[in-house]
């Protein structure tokens, strides 16, 4: 069974003539272990879709089933708990709490409750190790480089062992080489830990590092396929 299923999901903003249909009747399934790039021009609806899956926006209509539960129907408190326990977010900008060290940023989620602190501590050290961050674990977030900061953000997203990893433009502030390293680290964690990962990006080279690529245009799916066939299609055209 798919870990995440979207059934006829639409989202519109505003009323009457100001009404904007950001997402129109989108239905998709995602499996565990799958890394998916969401691409498309700005305003195509990819970020709105990510926000809805992450429980930051509620759809105007349709169902978003995570492990069989429709998160569109959750109340505010359950939605906060859903984000805490089942979603790992990596945002594009200043992800970190600036006055905490890298390690403290990971342990921060311990303060949100619902998990054993000893287990969180072990997990933080394990993730710092895997993401090659042990040497900067005690550095304040403000002293980390852009690449280190995004890897800490990935580690934080994995801290509570969520089913979904949602990533919004993870490489916007990085050069190509650093960006590739960050996305590769992310892909490795997603496959190794059997998560489903949705990554919004406008960088085609980053998008190509995912297994599946979904292209949006005007709130609809324009293309959905594996990256290999996608590249084949592109080379056919070329």
């Amino acid at each position: 069974m798919a870990i995440l299923s979207l059934r006829g999901v639409s989202k519109s903003f505003g009323e009457g003539p100001q009404r904007v249909d950001a997402v129109r009747d989108v239905s998709l399934d995602f499996e565990r272990g799958e890394m998916v790039s969401l691409v498309g021009p700005s305003g195509s609806g990819k970020s709105t879709l990510l926000a809805m899956v992450g429980g930051l926006l509620t759809p105007t209509s349709g169902e978003i089933l995570v492990d069989g539960v429709d998160i569109a129907r959750l109340g505010a408190r359950e939605r906060t708990r859903y984000r805490r326990d089942q979603v790992g977010f990596v945002f594009q900008g200043s992800n970190m709490v600036p006055f905490l060290t890298a390690r403290e940023n990971l342990l921060l989620v311990a303060g949100f409750g619902g998990m054993d602190k000893g287990a969180l501590r072990r997990r933080a050290d394990e993730l710092l190790e895997e993401l090659d961050l042990t040497h900067v674990a005690g550095h304040l977030a403000t002293r980390l480089s852009g690449g280190e900061r995004q890897r800490v953000a990935i580690a934080r997203a994995l801290m509570r062992d969520p089913a979904l990893i949602l990533v919004d433009e993870p490489t916007a502030s990085l050069n190509t080489e650093l960006g590739e390293r960050v996305v590769d680290a992310l892909a490795e964690e997603v496959r190794g830990r059997n998560k489903a990962c949705l990554m919004v990006t406008h960088d085609e080279r980053m998008a190509a590092r995912a297994g599946r690529l979904i292209e949006f245009r005007d709130g609809r799916i324009r293309h959905d396929g594996s990256v290999a066939s996608d590249e084949a299609a592109r080379s056919d055209r070329g």
Binding site: L57, T80, R83, F91, Q92, G93, V97, G111
Partner: protein
């Protein structure tokens, strides 16, 4: 703990606001102390009298200075309904030269020796004979007079020597330390004319029940507290001090409120991210309130420390009428802490209003 780590890592900002809170709290404590001190100077001597009611001449407008009662008045007051015991008390301000070129005014109260108006001595003995005087501790501190010394009290342009036989702890009347003489001696000090024309008392001290409001031909009775509040200047001084205290408290509340409002504004995007990754609004608000609480409590503790040091150094002399008691310190401290938490309520609303979607909207 997120809140405490933030305070530790942003020491300068939090130290500054704590310092400001400490100074405001210190100001409130000092003003409250000034209010208590002024009250004490104005008339604790009157409040310390061992009775519940005071009778004044009706034309005196509840002024001890202006009130004069005759023997007939005193007798009528003794017979008024509800009065159990009544005793005349005389008042005169006497300029005392206690050393070469050194003089001060003593609130000289005339009492019937052995009556309940005569205060208990804390040292020495009670009044027994004419030309004896009991002095308050405040006068002993001021003039260095002690038991066995001679205290010259003025009679017209001359003076009459009184022997200090006891020390009492009654405080001040009209900002003057009190001294006690017999009623006859008081009459001689206060009125130099025909002895048959001398008033019998300034006021009458009464023990009894439900006597307040009683009045007769030329006299009226009020509670001791009402008599105290009608001492010249007491009400004005109390309302000034209260206005200063409330202003201080308002400023403290606003400073804490504005500080936390601004640092919350600075952190809106961060708080949005924390909400997006699963922090509840309650968790974040609790962290904010914890910071407010720490700032207010530390600030108040510093101010109490400052106040205690001030009392031990500056105020050990008798010149500044500031006094503290545990009650006033606790009240002032608690009001600053509560004011701070009220001021921070604005920031809590702000935190609650942050929509976690902003985590995806920043560049």
């Amino acid at each position: 703990m997120l809140a405490l780590i933030e305070m530790k890592r942003r020491k300068l900002q939090f130290a500054m606001v704590t310092g400001v809170v400490a100074l405001i709290s210190y100001l409130i404590i000092m003003v409250t102390g000034l209010g208590l001190g002024l009250n004490e100077r104005a008339g604790t001597g009157l409040l310390a009298l061992d009775g519940e009611y005071l009778a004044y001449a009706s034309n005196a407008n509840l002024s001890v200075i202006r009130s004069r009662l005759t023997d007939a008045h005193v007798a009528a007051i003794e017979d008024a309904p509800g009065v159990e015991r009544a005793t005349p008390v005389g008042y005169v301000a006497a300029v005392v030269e206690y050393g070469p070129e050194e003089s001060d005014t003593a609130a000289t109260l005339g009492v019937v020796p052995g009556s309940f108006a005569e205060p208990e001595v804390v040292d020495g003995r009670q009044l027994e004979a004419p030309d004896e005087v009991l002095i308050d501790r405040a006068w002993a501190r001021l003039a260095g007079t002690s038991i066995g010394d001679t205290l010259p009290l003025p009679v017209g342009f001359d003076s009459r020597d009184f022997t200090v036989v006891g020390v009492v702890d009654q405080g001040y009347v009209f900002f003057q330390p009190t001294v006690y003489v017999s009623l006859e001696d008081w009459q001689a000090l206060a009125y130099q004319g025909d002895p048959s024309q001398r008033p019998a008392a300034s006021i009458v001290l009464i023990q009894g029940e439900d006597v307040a409001g009683a009045s007769g031909d030329g006299w009226q009775v009020v509670t001791k507290q009402e008599g105290f509040e009608n001492i010249e200047g007491v009400q004005a001084q109390q309302s000034t001090v209260d206005a200063l205290r409330y202003m201080g408290l308002l400023i403290g509340t606003l400073v804490i409120g504005v500080f936390f409002y601004v640092i919350t504004l600075q952190k809106v995007s961060l708080l949005g991210i924390l909400k997006a990754i699963g922090a509840s609004g309650l968790f974040l608000a609790t962290q904010g309130m914890l910071q407010v609480f720490v700032v207010a409590v530390v600030g108040v503790l510093i101010s109490v420390g400052l106040a205690i040091v001030t009392e031990a150094t500056l105020l050990s002399s008798d010149t500044v009428p500031i006094m503290f008691n545990t009650n006033s310190l606790v009240t002032s401290s608690a009001s600053v802490v509560i004011g701070g938490l009220v001021g921070a309520a604005l920031s809590v609303r702000q935190v609650a209003a942050i929509d976690p979607i902003i985590a995806m909207q920043q560049q």
